[in-house]
Symmetry: D2
Subunit: 387 residues, 4 copies
């Protein structure tokens, strides 16, 4: 039996992408690496919707590394409003605190998002120079409306920072148009490359004053390296994860070939079919309907952990729930990277069966049927995308 990974960590990958990372005598100064680094930096700007007033950064690390590094653009003495819809939004708190940066927190109940009214009220106080929000909250599958928040925020703050770890590559970021200062992400989630690279895009104007609290987490040290890499020159500061970058470069080439909008639409279609299928089967999606994301779906069930184990036996690895308020009472499905819309049916097949076995009241077949109807409606015109 072939196993499928629908976890929220490293995502569906592709043979070609992983193969691209198996290099033959490629070092950090080798021509093929330098070409891949340049292509990846340019690709990163493309998926972020950034223009040439932004500078892209690729560092050895993870999403958390990207978070802590971008924090160096926040001046000491300024104050940040953090919007958090769950565990990974909350992670900004210890990061900022460890560097003595002041922040206030607006948070939402699991499955909900902070309200625009509350955001406006907070910002109207005039106390904040920075706003941080998580586009898709991995712990709950909730997507915040970055367009609406940015519209409000850019009239009040100097810096808007978006955590795009679970969104970049599968949701519209459009940071230049929205006036977002910086976005961070990682190689292994919505992009579908292997884990190992931290990704950051920052407005060049925000790089003038960098907070000097670390050597590695200091964007100032990385400006010249990245500018050199953008010219396909060796920009060594600390050894980049060569294989991961070679893979990432392939991902960005694939996205350009398919078109970013088409790729986002494919993820939206899968997600809609999956979410609707779950509810048709008789289970409940954690996120409110208008907050469903393209990449992560959280499902409520009193047998959540048992369903995750049963699904593993049936061939799919899901993720258990991690939000402390409801841990053990929900599980999560990642649908990121090199997916196809019919993967929604595989997920539903396994969920319906594993849930029924635990005694959940599910209507076997109704979930997959509903999902199929949605896929039919959304693809009947064009026969599907291409890549």
């Amino acid at each position: 039996m072939q196993r499928k990974l629908m976890h929220v960590g490293p995502s569906f990958t592709s043979y070609r992408v992983q193969m691209a990372g198996v290099s033959e005598n490629t070092g950090f100064a080798s021509p093929d690496f330098l070409e891949a680094m340049k292509n990846s930096l340019e690709g990163l700007l493309y998926v972020a919707g950034a223009d040439d007033t932004y500078l892209p950064f690729i560092l050895p690390g993870s999403g958390t590394v990207a978070m802590e590094t971008v924090t160096s653009i926040i001046p000491k003495g300024s104050r940040t409003l953090l919007l958090t819809n769950g565990v990974f939004g909350d992670r900004w708190i210890p990061i900022l605190s460890s560097h003595g940066l002041d922040l206030d927190v607006l948070s939402a109940e699991p499955g909900r998002s902070v309200s625009l009214d509350d955001v406006r009220k907070k910002l109207d106080t005039g106390r904040y120079q920075n706003l941080i929000m998580t586009h898709v909250e991995t712990s709950t599958g909730v997507r915040i409306d970055i367009e609406k928040v940015s519209k409000i925020a850019r009239e009040h703050v100097d810096r808007i920072i978006v955590d795009g770890v679970a969104s970049l590559g599968a949701e519209k970021e459009d940071i230049a148009r929205l006036g977002i200062t910086a976005i961070i992400s990682a190689s292994q989630k919505a992009l579908g490359a292997p884990p190992g690279a931290a990704l950051i895009v920052v407005s060049r104007s925000a790089l003038d004053h960098i907070n000097d609290f670390s050597y590695f987490f200091n964007l100032k040290n990385w400006i010249t390296p990245m500018e050199r890499y953008l010219e396909a020159k060796n920009g060594y500061l600390s050894t980049e994860p060569v294989g991961v970058v070679l893979s990432l470069s392939r991902v960005f080439s694939d996205i350009r070939a398919a078109g970013l909008d088409e790729r986002i639409e494919e993820h939206r279609r899968l997600s809609l079919a999956l979410n609707e299928g779950i509810e048709a089967a008789g289970l409940k999606v954690l996120a409110e309907r208008d907050l469903w994301s393209n990449t992560v779906t959280a499902v409520l069930s009193d047998h959540a952990d048992e369903i995750v184990r049963g699904a593993m036996d049936l061939g799919i690895e899901f993720a258990t729930g991690v939000h402390p308020k409801i841990a053990g009472r929900y599980f999560r499905i990642g649908h990121m990277g090199y997916v196809n819309d019919f993967d929604a049916l595989a997920a539903l097949s396994v969920i319906e069966r594993a849930a029924a076995k635990c005694g959940e009241k599910v209507r076997i077949g109704d979930g997959v049927k509903k999902a199929q109807e949605i896929l039919y409606d959304l693809t009947k015109k064009n026969g599907g995308g291409q890549m």
Copy 2:
């Protein structure tokens, strides 16, 4: 978008299996190759249900190479009864003819199998020393009942040869128990390794008199090499496809780990769900219901080729029909190798959508729902297999 291969040629493979074939400085005399060759030869006996009165052979080549090589056990002057349910059964005719071997042919209409009565009548004439049949006919998806045919045949002929190209590894062969003299197959179909190796298992007693019509296609030349390989010694005669054998060895290890019966049951479950789903959706399976195979499903449609193209756009590669009597009026789905039962739903999703787009009267969602109900019924006790 990730593409899925459900063709009837090279089948679903697995990363691990292909990776196992990427070797580091491995030649045909290297220890790791010799170990893989031994493991593969032993594995071949295992999946064929052969005991130590049989000798296994792995040759560079394809299914056709295996067919022509096994023909060397047929004595000149003897007469063969060939049972053929389609194109690949028919291929034995030019092979035997090119070597001056006499044969008579019993053939069936597309979707049907030759009748046991006809077989019995032919054999009762006492004119035949050999019988050849194809376990699963790749051009129609029809499975012949090798147990019943063998029971009749072994009272009349000296040699029963089974073409297991589309069955070995996903159907019960059990050749020792059934008194089958030889079975042939290839690496890339039901076994799920890459193409490049021809597989043959022959009763040692049938190796005493080998037809001398070729150098390469002469099993006599291969006996000593294979006996040496079985002892993990270099048995070089002609360069074996080293990488393919390394992959094949991994496949046999996987099958042993899962258990052959469990693996066959997984394929049966997928196949049943798929076939029932197709009919529930309003399409017609070519094979009669009691002839459905575990590995190939043929579907009738006046828009067959259009459906295959539409499915490619939606992410799955099926095979067009090749039976000359109905070419263009059906297509084929391969479900061999490293599949999972929920792949049936992916196939149905794509078929329903692609067929509807062509104007076929399909009931969107009914196919996938029916398939899901069957998967539920067949897995509700144990929660699925393991591997």
Copy 3:
């Protein structure tokens, strides 16, 4: 310790070449396979030095499969003169004989080549319609002068067949200019792809009358498939080794990028350094000096098998000797595929050390020094090749 393969079977490969063969859902009708098949067929013509009066063939199999298949162009009743310098030349005897084809044999002592005078005398009898010769004899490392033999032969015979198994890709073949009718080879030797594909190039005029002695070994059956593959269309007759062809396609692209002449020169340089180094170290090369090949070097030693074992411990796998007249008294070094000229030094380092340990009188360091001097002389102008 990293082991290096310098055997005469599957040769030095490259990561990229093996990786190219790890496919993602690629079947024998998939677009990427069809493109690779076309590129490989065209590449095959290029390295053979063939023009459009020739047709290329790629079959599942091995060098022996290519030998037996090309035999189908020899008419029954015609007579063949076989020139053989060793074991693999001799293999043509049972192949032709099994198909009732008459032949006479001119053979040479190990390390020598049949003399042009003897060839001329034989051909002057007017008894022969076909001539077969092996460009590089793998069992002895001897290279025959195909240019001189062809010049004599094309005035006497209708068909000249060259066995290029150990030469194609590393020696000049130039078959159109030399008037050679057909050349055969295999994927895994001088070309450096994995084993699994038999390669044949035949003059189209020789395809008019094909000997009908087999189904698979009948070039007539393969003409239409190959003509379709040359147009990147599915030409299925028997399943091609998909992964091997994907790798082979990469090899041909690499050769075109480097230039065939440059690639041949690199092999010549390595070979010269190695052969001279062996003699400088105090050992004796089996082949006469003017018969040294670019791809295989055979070394005489009374401790040959012991040296091969010792070399394995030191990190290189060589091949033992197989010529029956001197088996056990020599060993062989393959230098084919993705080699670099400095690999000659690695081989010499290991040979000197392993030979000394067995009690051979070798001058430690003199072999490697001599080889280095030759490499210096041959590269001092241009600083080496590129690829």
Copy 4:
């Protein structure tokens, strides 16, 4: 032509090691990852020579990440003596400074090491609670004698930190016996895995008081995750570089199979042959003879950069020099990871040729000859190592 990487960054790798990292649906909670993580953590203790009073850490990142993270064990207010023999030793200065940690620096001229006398004198002042040293300085190839320094230091300081980025896996560390508090390294250098993982081993007693200056660079946050991983349980804090860890696990298994001492001896042999060969050829090694390391060799030449370019054309990628005092006047050879002792000859062949072409006075062949004599002397008893 096959290119060889002898850079000081990502090192010689092996097919098997890279292949091990190409995973099939492996996430950070998947059983195969958890097993690889456990094996890697245990392997890390083994190569460091640590016992169960130490805790191992594997983080997403690089050598620099490991440096900055280990800094968290240094208490604010304590004072550090830094011994630096070059650029990478110097890197500790901005790292410690950015966190407000006081330090004094003892540095050496390029090619030399700080003297034991100077170390003793400094420590005798009683001003230092911490000592940091770099085992092998990548910018010069100099190895410090960690045994002698540790013997002196452990009577004066509370914490000895060793930078083992260019040594761990190819030099003896033996930290428990030497009383070293912590050692850091990275996956891609002497160990020979792909880059992407930061490696740290710390005495458990030093983990009681962790400096709270960061979220990610705070070892306290990583203690529980690593203790869980050591039990093969999910210890998620930030996504680990899954593929890199799978590869690293293979490396540690390989080292255990060969034996750490044997692996170190192989590197020593190669290094000695290379260094002696360079001097025999007429070039000058930067490091003083008794400071030669097993992993990095720096060579003085006024044509250094030209030699590096010429070597690239001849098939080997070396590294240019980076020490600011002599940049452009030397180049570096990395001999780390999956090397074989005869790689010394390949390097020398290319260096002699490239240097001669630039007009350097080199004695062609004398370098390789000398190296070969050394390899002979060091392997004549046992015929080489095994792995």
